[in-house]
């Protein structure tokens, strides 16, 4: 099966803080669910930034859905972003807009005709289980609910891959599990997911492929959770 996302010997060095990624290569297949695991500072966020082309690699090549980091111009990037969904640990919702307005905003600014926005927003909020709280403002929602709004917003363009940077980092166990189930459900409908986390227990339960990062290097790519548990303990 063809990879929809491929990193080829990718390195990223910042002028001040030094190497953030060292010679990382992997491939993501269509509709796959992959965890990205490692301690903070291991390079998870940098890796996701390179995939969304917020940054370009110092070395190597990132290929995402037909775009290459070597040839993409900065005005191509909005087109790439419309094929990705991105969610963060801190949700990044607009505090002065309701849940549905936050989701609608992403459609408005990408030029979707007004008439199509309302039904799509309603459908997405239903999908993430928040239809009843469409008119609530972010501060009226729990952390888990806010992340659901953010996920709904990330899905507006029907992305082929969802990049989730520690989406459960601010949530308690119950909410974490619920968000994970939601991401799995989205995944079963065909969207690939890369979920960065340092929650080893979650990976243990899920028994899915994971990419283990340490000091900017990809040190393991597979499903051997026992190894991961030992690794994470050893480095603590």
């Amino acid at each position: 099966m063809a990879g929809i996302l491929r990193l080829d010997h990718v390195s990223k060095t910042y002028p001040r803080s030094g190497a953030a990624l060292v010679d990382v290569s992997f491939e993501l297949n269509k509709g796959e669910f992959v965890f990205l695991v490692g301690h903070s500072g291991a390079g998870k966020s940098t890796l996701l930034k390179l995939i969304s082309m917020a940054e370009r690699p110092t070395d190597g090549e990132v290929r995402v859905s037909g775009f290459s980091s070597l040839t993409a111009r900065s005005r191509d990037i909005p087109q790439l972003r419309r094929r990705l969904g991105i969610v963060f640990q801190d949700f990044r919702l607009l505090p002065d807009r309701t849940a549905e307005q936050n989701v609608a905003f992403a459609l408005e600014v990408t030029g979707v005709p007004q008439g199509l926005i309302q039904p799509k927003v309603a459908r997405l909020l239903t999908q993430v289980g928040l239809a009843s709280k469409a008119t609530a403002f972010p501060h009226e929602l729990s952390g888990g609910e806010q992340q659901r709004v953010a996920i709904a917003r990330a899905l507006v363009n029907d992305p082929f891959v969802l990049l989730a940077d520690e989406p459960t980092g601010n949530l308690d166990d119950r909410a974490t599990h619920a968000i994970f189930l939601l991401l799995r459900e989205i995944n079963t409908q065909g969207t690939a997911v890369i979920m960065a986390t340092h929650d080893v227990a979650l990976i243990q339960r899920a028994n899915l492929r994971f990419l283990e990062m340490d000091k900017g290097s990809l040190i393991f790519d597979g499903t051997d959770v026992a190894r991961l548990v030992a690794d994470m303990r050893g480095r603590r």
Binding site: S52, A54, S74, R75, P78, Q79, L80, R81, R82, I86, R92, L94, F105, A106, E108, V109, T110, G111, R153, A154, V156, N157
Partner: protein
């Protein structure tokens, strides 16, 4: 577009004072241009009417023979710049002086006035340089004693016009610079206030142009408003001077429209510069 206009209104509500300040400085910038421009065009129209009366008078030496006068007249008529020429004999000069200066009638009893030749130049040949050249040419005739013309006046008016033009440009440019800075900082504030929204717009794939558009519209509208105010101020000043001091000329419709357009362009330029810099900063931080 609808979204962009909504942002413009929001930006105005967020910092109305700063927005007004931006409009005001653009207005003052163009007002300075306009005022001195008005002085310049009025001096020009004054120059045209004065130049209309520019005449060169060549006083002749005493006791010139009629034949010599005829020869001089023929020579002058051949000059392409000369519109018409007339001879004033010593007798008619005295008569004219008596008529014009009635109070000095006694003094002039038995006085002798020199004969002279008066000539007027064609339109387009009344600038100081041509007047000087013709005068020097007349001076070469042996019968000509002295040549006089309103040289000082013509040159002074030309100089005033140039100074007015320069002063207007300098003052206008200073105001223009200030307005660019102020409009730039209003946009900076607006962008910082919306840093989060802009970050999300980028995240979900809004194009650069889409992000920029509201700010460019904002700047252009401010410039347009400034231009209209400047025209109103200039017109008001002109009307005031016209009524209380002396009749003046106002700009043509085309010049007025050009002024308003200049305001819009100034606003657009200011916002263009600022948007580029501020968005660049947000991109890097995000």
């Amino acid at each position: 577009m609808r979204l962009a206009l909504r942002e413009v209104v929001l930006a105005f509500r967020r910092a109305p004072l700063l927005a007004l300040l931006g409009v005001t400085t653009i207005a003052f910038s163009l007002f300075a241009f306009g005022l001195f421009g008005l002085v310049a065009i009025n001096i020009r129209s004054a120059l045209v009417s004065i130049e209309d009366r520019v005449e060169i008078r060549a006083f002749l030496v005493d006791g010139v023979a009629d034949g010599q006068v005829d020869e001089l007249m023929r020579g002058i008529t051949k000059m392409p710049q000369v519109a018409d020429v007339g001879y004033v004999s010593p007798d008619s000069a005295l008569q004219r002086a008596r008529a014009e200066l009635d109070e000095f009638r006694d003094v002039m009893e038995g006085a002798m006035l020199p004969g002279s030749v008066e000539l007027r130049l064609k339109e387009g040949a009344r600038d100081p340089a041509t007047v000087l050249a013709i005068s020097q040419r007349l001076q070469t005739y042996p019968v000509v004693d002295e040549v006089r013309y309103g040289r000082e006046w013509v040159e002074k008016l030309y100089r005033i016009r140039n100074i007015a033009g320069l002063a207007g440009s300098v003052l206008g440019a200073v105001f223009a610079l200030v307005s660019v800075i102020i409009i730039g900082s209003t946009i900076r504030m607006a962008i910082l206030a919306r840093a989060r929204e802009i970050e999300i717009m980028r995240l979900v794939g809004a194009t650069n142009g889409f992000v920029r558009l509201p700010y460019l519209i904002d700047g252009t509208l401010k410039g347009l408003a400034g231009g209209v105010i400047a025209v109103a101020l200039t017109w008001g000043t002109n009307a005031l001077v016209s009524r209380s001091l002396l009749g003046t000329v106002f700009f043509s419709t085309q010049q007025v429209l050009l002024g308003i357009l200049a305001g819009a362009l100034l606003g657009l330029l200011a916002s263009w510069i600022s948007v580029g810099r501020q968005l660049g900063r947000i991109w890097r931080e995000a």
